[in-house]
């Protein structure tokens, strides 16, 4: 079965070890758009070897947020209606993709967000586990949304809606923490958010580029910067 109106997007930096497993697990019939964010290893070449994968290359590393925005812009220009975004490091289960698409098709939200709190987090750190609900509370207070896990990167987008809000992704204030910026901005524009439970695993191999303390600090900075910007509008 083909899913002509849906595209899977992901981005990575030097993930040649995790990428084959990730791409092999994508359910049949889905097109994949992969943004290589300036990798110096064979990541892009591996992605290109898959017939259902289209590859965009950043000439230099710009961070996950910018790479994500590149993927979304390309998906819109290719004419897809739905876009499912997930991490290529083995943390998100590609088998869940159909559930995200079904939720979008059912009109449950303009963006469907995976929630580790409603689902399950395997092998996470105590610090991160205790930080996520606090962060969710802060973002809910600012946005008026009621989310349990705004930082989860496993999300699906109705591109018909997001094509009107592409400017949200063009500020690049905090390339690694675009989720915070996005939710603060979309909340003001009436974009509907829906959460579904997901299971998030530990990375297959390699290390994350997001250190625990640096992660927390950058998230707080993103909240402050985006809130100030939005108030200034």
């Amino acid at each position: 079965m083909t899913h002509n109106d849906t595209i899977i997007t992901t981005e990575a930096l030097n993930e040649e070890r995790n990428l084959p497993d990730f791409l092999n697990r994508i359910p049949d019939g889905y097109d994949v758009l992969f943004t290589d964010d300036g990798s110096s290893d064979g990541t892009a070449a591996i992605a290109r070897s898959y017939p259902n994968v289209r590859v965009i290359n950043h000439a230099m590393n710009l961070g996950q947020g910018v790479a994500f925005a590149t993927g979304m812009k390309a998906a819109i220009s290719l004419g897809y209606r739905y876009m499912v975004h997930l991490d290529a490091d083995g943390q998100h289960r590609p088998e869940d993709i159909p559930r995200f698409v079904e939720s979008l098709r059912a009109g449950e939200g303009d963006i469907v967000v995976g929630s580790r709190i409603l689902g399950q987090m395997n092998k996470t750190t105590v610090l991160r586990k205790s930080f996520l609900p606090v962060l969710a509370e802060v973002i809910n207070k600012i946005t008026g949304l009621s989310m349990t896990d705004p930082m989860c990167g496993y999300r699906a987008y109705d591109l018909e809606v997001f094509a009107k809000h592409l400017d949200i992704f063009s500020t690049y204030h905090n390339p690694q923490h675009n989720a915070v910026e996005m939710f603060i901005r979309i909340a003001r524009r009436g974009v509907r958010v829906h959460e579904i439970p997901v299971v998030v695993d530990a990375r297959s191999t390699g290390k994350s580029y997001k250190g625990e303390l640096k992660y927390g600090w950058n998230v707080m900075m993103a909240i402050i910067k985006t809130s100030l910007e939005e108030k200034g509008k």
Binding site: T35, R54, V55, I56, N57, H58, A59, M60, L62, V66, A69, T70, K73, A74, S77, L78, S170, Y172, P175
Partner: protein, 118 residues
Amino acid sequence: MSNLTIIMALIALGMGTFTVQLMRKRKIAVSAFMLWISVWGGMLLISLFPDILIWLASVANMQLRAYFVFVVAIVFIIFLLFFRSVTERREEYGIAVLTQELALLKFKLEQMEHERKE
């Protein structure tokens, strides 16, 4: 003239000449050229006429010339860093936009090439 003032004057002259050379080779922006030429000019002026510094220090109610020099230098560096961080952010943003647009254009070209072959 003390040895220090001679050294200061020579440094100011040397750096002034170097800054003009950079400008001629278009290796420095006009705004930066104006800023640094003013700095070297001020340095030269103070080394040739040290009384200016004594007068400025007394106007600022500072007992020692050295205090005045340090305060001016620190404030100048702080301002420089602040405006540099603003410029850096603007350049960083510009590079991100250009890199993204280049990637998307290249992607579109590849898609067109692919469709043409089919």
